[in-house]
């Protein structure tokens, strides 16, 4: 398996100006993405944003109105799905119920005319890889959800495709198993020499697994970035709101800068152009309670309203004036050491300038 894998090179995927419409609805609206070879790319977006449509267009099951899809140098837009050579994992797993586990996994090999002996050994190896060694003889209905998911994965990678597409493969699993499988999938990706395009609407899952994430909104790419950049430097309120826990505070333009509570803010990014209303994007865990003024920290004054214990962390609800609420998340380990402010007490919250992001309400 390893020797054969070395011979296959993962491919870049280049999507340019892809348009797909159902009636008047442009489900994919001029989408362009360049996916690097061997990359784990996640398509992240709310329900109905067009993620599945984009993935199905890559697989060939959805035919776009216009645009281009290239695998490596090769144009694929008119190639029929069974000739695209991509491994595909469906949300429903789509395992063939009348075949055993090993028959399912060997299916792509059988289609490709691989000899029965080699089919068997390669299918067994793929099952081994997803930690299902020895399960080959089982019926599909004798497997748990997580095991089915692994079989689907083994079947998608057994023929060593250079591209693997996955549509919300973990969404049917319970939280614990899902988190476990996220880590396993990520480790598996490092062993495989394949470009993976992964669809999810779970931002946490996307952040955990991806090399890069394309956030999709209403058929358009809202932002494409590495998880850290996406989290720390969202380029629009949509992305800021969709990724992670977010609190927004309206801020005022002042000259070419921005002010909050009458104090000028030190910003990580340039002030958005134009003269529309602006919002400060706050991540509750980045706010500091005991803010010293080191010249690089913005302060937000407020009154503590409520303290909520949430196990791993404590959430403070702060009234920042004008009825605006800001929440502050403090890890329980930290909360234990410092004494938490009582309800009703006035405090100053610190926000480092590197974490201070201001965005326009309307995208320019």
């Amino acid at each position: 398996m390893a020797a054969a894998a070395a011979s296959s090179q993962s491919l870049p995927i280049t999507v340019s100006n892809l348009v797909k419409a159902y009636g008047d609805l442009r489900v994919l609206d001029d989408v362009s993405i360049a996916i690097r070879p061997g990359e784990f790319m996640t398509l992240l977006g709310p329900s109905g944003s067009g993620k599945t449509t984009l993935l199905m267009a890559l697989a060939g099951f959805v035919s776009p109105e216009s645009g281009s899809i290239r695998f490596g140098e090769q144009e694929m837009i008119t190639t029929s799905p069974h000739k695209r050579g991509v491994g595909m994992v469906f949300q429903s797993y789509a395992l063939f119920p009348f075949m055993s586990v090993v028959e399912n996994v060997a299916y792509p090999l059988k289609i490709r005319g691989v000899s029965p002996a080699e089919q068997k050994s390669r299918a067994e190896a793929a099952l081994e890889m997803v930690k299902l060694g020895g399960y080959g003889g089982r019926r599909i209905n004798q497997l748990s959800g997580g095991q089915k998911q692994r079989v689907a994965l083994a079947r998608a990678m057994v023929f060593e495709p250079r591209i693997i597409l996955m549509d919300e493969p973990l969404s049917a699993l319970d939280k614990k198993l899902r988190e476990h499988m996220q880590i396993e999938l990520k480790q598996l990706h490092q062993k495989l020499d394949a470009t993976i395009v992964y669809v999810t609407h779970d931002q946490r899952e996307a952040l955990t697994m991806s090399d890069r994430i394309a956030v999709i909104n209403k058929g358009r790419i809202a932002q494409l970035d590495e998880p850290k950049a996406l989290y720390r430097r969202p380029n629009s309120l949509f992305v800021a709101d969709f990724i992670g826990e977010t609190v927004l505070l309206p801020v005022q333009r002042e000259g070419d800068g921005v002010s909050l509570q009458g104090r000028k803010l030190k910003l990580a990014t340039p002030t958005p152009s134009g003269n529309g209303p602006l919002q400060l994007v706050i991540r509750p865990e980045l706010l500091q309670l005991d803010a010293g003024d080191d010249g690089d920290t913005n302060t937000i004054a407020g009154v503590v309203r409520q303290t909520i214990y949430q196990g791993d962390s404590v959430l403070l609800i702060i009234d920042a004036g004008d009825g605006r609420e800001v929440s502050v998340r403090i890890a329980t380990s930290r909360a234990g050491q410092a004494s938490l402010p009582d309800s009703g007490s006035r405090i100053a919250l610190g926000l480092h300038r590197d974490d201070t992001v201001v965005l326009a309400e309307q995208a320019p």
Partner: protein, 292 residues
């Protein structure tokens, strides 16, 4: 505390008894009806088959069944049933497939068309075929007036006509279970097969067809077994030339008024049908076919 628990247990036991009484009460009428109109006559007929004309216990009636006339009736019955079943599969499979690919709304309308024949009596439908196929029927008259043929074709009163009529009547019994099974096949399965490298045709044969087999077998069993006992259609459309078992039974009673012999035929037919179901059950697991 323990008194309360004991009281609760009493109450629960009473509830269970009440439930059982309700269940028996509700199912009793149907059970009685079946006992009286199915099993009682069945028992009476099968006991008749073991009596000779003088009312003495004997196997005479069964011995007579080995005669050429009867053996031929058995053979013809099985041949016709097999032919009808095969034709139903040939016509019904593509039809059910086509229906299952249609949007639900359209499919429902089309299904009503498939079911339409159910709303008219078998006798009416059989006569309708006669109107179409007979010597001066619709088809012959049309062809004659168009000058396509000089003399009327022999369309009715033969084996072909019987089979056409029976296929028409049996087709819904094949299409309905098949359609239901096809409808429940997850479209992602075929798509997955294509995604993994099968051409659409290959995916159809390797994935869709095997997945539809339970529905097909259910339909085949229904059609074949119902065909075994067909009477009106072969009697009318066959014009006396086609002698299936049911007709043989009828003539044994009306012409020879030999109830014992007729009963023996009926018993053998029943046993054969049951044996067939048992065999299919052994091979395919019919209980799994009907309850999915």
């Amino acid at each position: 505390m323990s008194a309360v628990i004991a009281m609760n247990a009493d109450e629960l036991a009473r509830g269970q008894r009440r439930e059982r009484a309700q269940f028996i009460g509700l199912s009793l009428p149907a059970t009685l009806l079946i006992l009286i109109i199915v099993f009682l006559p069945l028992f009476w007929l099968s006991s008749l088959s073991f009596l000779d004309r003088g009312g003495e216990l004997s196997t005479e009636n069964y011995q007579r069944l080995t005669g050429d006339l009867y053996v031929e009736a058995f053979v013809v019955t099985f041949q016709i049933s097999a032919a009808v079943t095969a034709l139903c599969v040939l016509l019904g499979y593509p039809l059910a497939y086509w229906l299952s690919r249609k949007p639900q709304h359209t499919a429902n309308l089309l299904l009503i068309c498939v079911l339409l024949p159910f709303w008219t009596a078998v006798l009416v439908r059989t006569y309708a075929w006669l109107v179409l196929l007979q010597r001066n029927g619709l088809i012959n008259n049309t062809l004659l007036s168009l000058g396509v043929i000089d003399a009327p074709l022999q369309l009715a009163h033969n084996l072909t006509a019987s089979i056409i009529g029976m296929v028409h009547i049996m087709l819904p019994f094949l299409v309905l279970p098949l359609y239901a099974t096809m409808k429940s096949i997850d479209g992602d399965l075929v798509r997955a097969a294509v995604g993994l490298g099968s051409s659409p045709t290959e995916a159809f044969w390797r994935i869709f067809v095997p997945m539809s087999l339970p529905g097909l077998f259910a339909g085949v069993v229904l059609v074949f077994i119902m065909s075994l006992g067909f009477y009106v259609t072969p009697a009318l459309l066959g014009g006396g030339r086609v002698q299936m078992l049911a007709q043989r039974i009828e003539s044994t009673i009306t012409i020879f008024s030999n109830w014992g012999a007729a009963s023996a035929l009926g018993v053998v037919l029943l046993v054969m049908a049951l044996a067939l179901v048992a065999l299919l059950h052994r091979v395919f697991g019919l209980d799994k076919l009907f309850v999915r």
